[in-house]
Symmetry: C2
Subunit: 417 residues, 2 copies
C-alpha cells in the first residue's frame, strides 16, 4: 500500500490503527456526514462541507435579502467567478490568474474546444479517446460539425500514437470516469506539444484528489467539475483553466456581456476583457457559486500530496480486502492494479453489478453503478476513513453471501439511476 | 392611469388609498423587504421571496447533506429543470411541456439561435434590433460567424420593414432593457411567420410582469431570465421555451448527456431526448435552481392581468409625479408615454443621471443607471406599493432641490456599477 504500512494480520482493529495514524484524519470534521452511511460516491457528488450552510444563510438573508442589487459591488458578486477561480487554482497547480469558475463542465468544454481549434486554424482534426464520458464526445462532435473539421475518436490503445501533426486539438480526460485509469498529464501534454497540437484536459475526476501542475506542465486548456472532489454542491459551477501564455489569444464562441472589457458601457460591439474574464458568458448562479466558494475553504492547509497518498492507500486496501474476502464471488477488477495509474476509485465488474450496487445502497454503503457491469466505489480522502473501507467490504461480503442482490427490489432498473 | 382611478388632489394620503384598494396588496407579504429601502430595481434583481430560505435550508441540510447522491432520484433533482419549467410555463402563457430551466440567458440564446437557424437551412440572415441588450448581439454575432451567415442589425424604426423573406431568424427582445419599450409579441410573431421566418424572443424584462400567450401566439422560440421579475435569486438559471409543434425538429449546438434519451447508458453517440429535455446540456446548479423553484410559488394564485394593471398604474403615477414635482429639473422621459407600449419601468434621461442615481441610492431609493444618461426605475407590482412611488419621487425632489448629486461621492464612477 503506497506509503502506508499494512498491518498483518489485517483485521478491523488494525484498520482503525491506520485511521489513528492518518495525518488527514482531522480534515473529516470539516464535512457533515450522515452517521448511518458509508459514502463512497464523493466522485459523483461531494459531501457537504460544514462551512457551507452558514455561508449560504448569510448570502441568502443578508446579501440577497437586505443588500439586494448592491451586493454585486458591496459583497463582491462581480468578482466571484475570478476570485473563486483563484482560490481553486493552487489545488490544480495553476496560477491564480489562470482559472475562472462559470457554467457547466459541458458548456466549458464547448467554449475551450472551439477556442483551442482557433489556435491552430491550419489543422482540421480533433483527437479524443473512445469510451470516456459521453458528454465530451457529444460536445466535440458538435464543435466538429460547426467548424467543419474531423472528430477522430480512437481506442485507448491507439491514442498516444494518434497524436500526430495533423491534430489541432487533443481533448482528453485526466482520470477515466468508469475505470479510474490516469493519463499522465505532463507526459501527454508533452506528446501533444511535440507535434504542435493544443491540449484540452477534462479534470472532472482528478481535480481535488490528484496533485497536478497544470501551469508548470505547460497544459494549454482545461475544464473541471465543481461538485465531485471539490465538494461544491449539486451542479456547482465548473471551471475553465487557460495557461497565461495563451490567454490573450483566446477567442471563445459564447461571448457574453460579462466577458466584455467594459460590461456596463453596454457597447454594441464586443471588446474582449483581458485575462480569464473573457471566458465568462452570462450571470453566474451566485448561490451555487458561493457554496463552492465556502466549500473550497476545506482544502485550506491540506497537502495534495497527502491526499494522494491516502487515496492510493484507500484503493489499495479496498482491492486487497475485496480479493481476500469476496475474491471468489465473480468480481473482476476494472481499475488499473498499479496505484500510480489509478485515480481515487475502484471499479469492479460483475454480471450482477447493478443489483449488487442497489443491495449495498440499501445497507447504507453508497457507491454507484456504471453501465454495463461496473460497481464503482469512489474515495474522497478528506472524509473517507480506512475503517469505512473495512465496513464497506464487510457489507459487500454479506450481500454476496446472502445473495440478497437477487431480490426483485434490487434488480429493478429505474429509468435513471 | 390605466384602470385605477386617480384621486384629486394627489397627496400622500390619497396614494395610500390606492394601496388600500390594491387587490395585490397582500402579495407583498410573500417577499422579504428591508424596511429602510424603496426597492425599484426588481427588474435587475428580484427581491427575496419569503419561501426561499426555508426551502434552501432543507435542500442544503437534508437533500445534499443527508441524502447526498440519492437526491437525484429521491428528491427529484433529475426532473427539476423540466418540473420548474412546467411551473414557470403559465406565467408566460406556455404549455407545461414547452419550458425547461437551465444555464444562463446568454447560453440559451446561443442554443436557440442556432436551433432556429437550422429550421431554415435555405436562408442566411439573422435579423436583430439595434440598441438592445448587448449580450444578445454578441451571441448572435458568434452564431453568425460559426454558421457563416449574416447578422443584420437594424434601427428600431426600420425593424418591422426589415422582416423579409431573406430572414431565417428574427431575434428580438420583448421589452427593451433601457427604454422599457414593448414589442407586441403576437403581432411581430405574425410578421415573422408571414415571411416564413422563425422568431426567437428574449423575455428578460417581460417574463413575470407582462401577460403573454407564447403558445397561442405561435411564438417559435424564447429565452428568459430567472432573477429579474421571477425573483429566483442572483444569477438564477434562465429558461428556454420551444413551441411544442417544433420540439421534435430542434437541434441545438450544446448537446450534453442530460439531453440524451438514455443519459445513464453513457452511449458514445448522441440520441436526442424527446421534448424539451433536448435543450439540457450539463448538470444544473441545483441550489440556484431550487431557489427559483420556491420563488415561483409566490406567483401561485396571482393574476398576470392584475399584475399588468398595477404595473401600468405604478408607471403612470411615477410619470405624473415626476412631471408635477421635478418637471423643471431637466429630466426627459425615455420610456414610451403610452402605458400600453411601456414595460414595468420608467427611464428618465438627465445629464447628471449617474450621480442622481447614486444620490438616490444613498437615500435608500434603489434604482439603477444605464449608459449614457438614464435613471432607470423598475416596478415589481407584486411588492412595490403606490406609496413607494410617492416616497421615491419625494426623495428625487429633494436630491434635485439640494443638488446633492453634485457631491464628489456621488459623481465617482466605479469600474462596474
Amino acid at each position: 500500500m503506497a506509503g502506508v504500512p499494512v498491518p498483518v494480520p489485517l483485521d478491523r482493529d488494525a484498520v482503525c490503527e491506520l485511521d489513528a495514524a492518518d495525518p488527514l484524519a482531522g480534515v473529516r470534521e470539516r464535512f457533515v456526514l450522515p452517521l448511518d452511511l458509508i459514502y463512497l460516491d464523493g466522485n459523483s457528488l461531494g459531501a457537504l462541507p460544514a462551512a457551507v450552510p452558514a455561508h449560504l444563510y448569510d448570502v441568502v438573508h443578508r446579501e440577497w435579502g437586505k443588500d439586494l442589487i448592491r451586493s454585486w459591488n458591496s459583497n463582491g458578486w462581480w468578482e466571484a467567478p475570478l476570485r473563486v477561480g483563484a482560490k481553486l487554482a493552487p489545488i490544480i497547480g495553476a496560477h491564480s490568474n489562470e482559472v475562472v469558475v462559470c457554467d457547466s463542465t459541458s458548456v466549458n468544454i464547448f467554449k475551450l474546444a472551439i477556442a483551442g481549434m482557433r489556435l491552430r486554424p491550419d489543422r482540421r482534426v480533433i483527437l479524443a479517446e473512445g469510451g470516456t464520458f459521453p458528454t465530451d464526445h457529444y460536445m466535440l462532435a458538435s464543435v466538429a460539425e460547426l467548424l467543419g473539421v474531423e472528430l477522430r475518436i480512437v481506442p485507448t490503445a491507439d491514442l498516444y500514437a494518434a497524436i500526430t501533426d495533423e491534430v489541432a486539438l487533443v481533448s482528453l480526460t485526466n482520470v477515466d470516469y468508469r475505470t479510474g485509469a490516469i493519463h499522465n498529464l505532463e507526459a501527454v501534454t508533452q506528446l501533444a506539444h511535440d507535434v504542435g497540437a493544443v491540449i484540452l484536459w477534462d479534470l472532472a475526476h482528478s481535480a481535488g484528489v490528484l496533485p497536478m501542475n497544470l501551469h508548470d506542465a505547460g497544459a494549454d486548456l482545461a475544464v473541471g467539475c465543481g461538485y465531485k472532489f471539490l465538494n461544491g454542491g449539486p451542479g456547482a459551477p465548473a471551471f475553465c483553466y487557460v495557461h497565461e501564455a495563451l490567454q490573450d489569444q483566446i477567442s471563445q464562441p459564447l461571448p457574453g456581456w460579462l466577458g466584455h472589457v467594459r460590461p456596463f458601457d453596454f457597447e454594441p460591439s464586443f471588446d474582449v476583457a483581458p485575462g480569464m474574464a473573457r471566458l465568462l458568458t452570462g450571470t453566474s448562479p451566485i448561490l451555487s457559486l458561493l457554496a463552492l466558494d465556502a466549500a473550497l475553504d476545506a482544502f485550506g492547509d491540506v497537502s495534495m500530496q497527502q491526499v494522494r497518498e491516502k487515496s492510493m492507500a484507500l484503493t489499495e486496501l479496498t482491492l486487497r480486502l475485496v480479493d481476500e474476502r469476496v475474491g471468489d464471488s465473480g468480481f473482476g477488477v476494472v481499475s488499473p492494479l498499479d496505484p500510480q495509474l489509478r485515480g481515487s476509485q475502484v471499479s469492479l465488474s460483475h454480471p450482477h453489478a447493478f443489483a449488487i450496487t442497489q443491495a449495498l445502497i440499501a445497507r447504507g454503503v453508497i457507491g454507484d453503478f456504471r453501465t454495463p457491469d461496473i460497481l464503482r466505489l469512489g474515495f474522497a480522502p478528506m472524509y473517507v476513513r480506512y475503517v469505512d473501507v473495512w465496513d464497506a467490504v464487510t457489507e459487500l461480503d454479506e450481500v454476496m453471501q446472502t445473495k440478497e442482490y437477487l431480490l426483485d427490489r434490487h434488480q429493478a432498473r429505474a429509468t435513471v439511476t
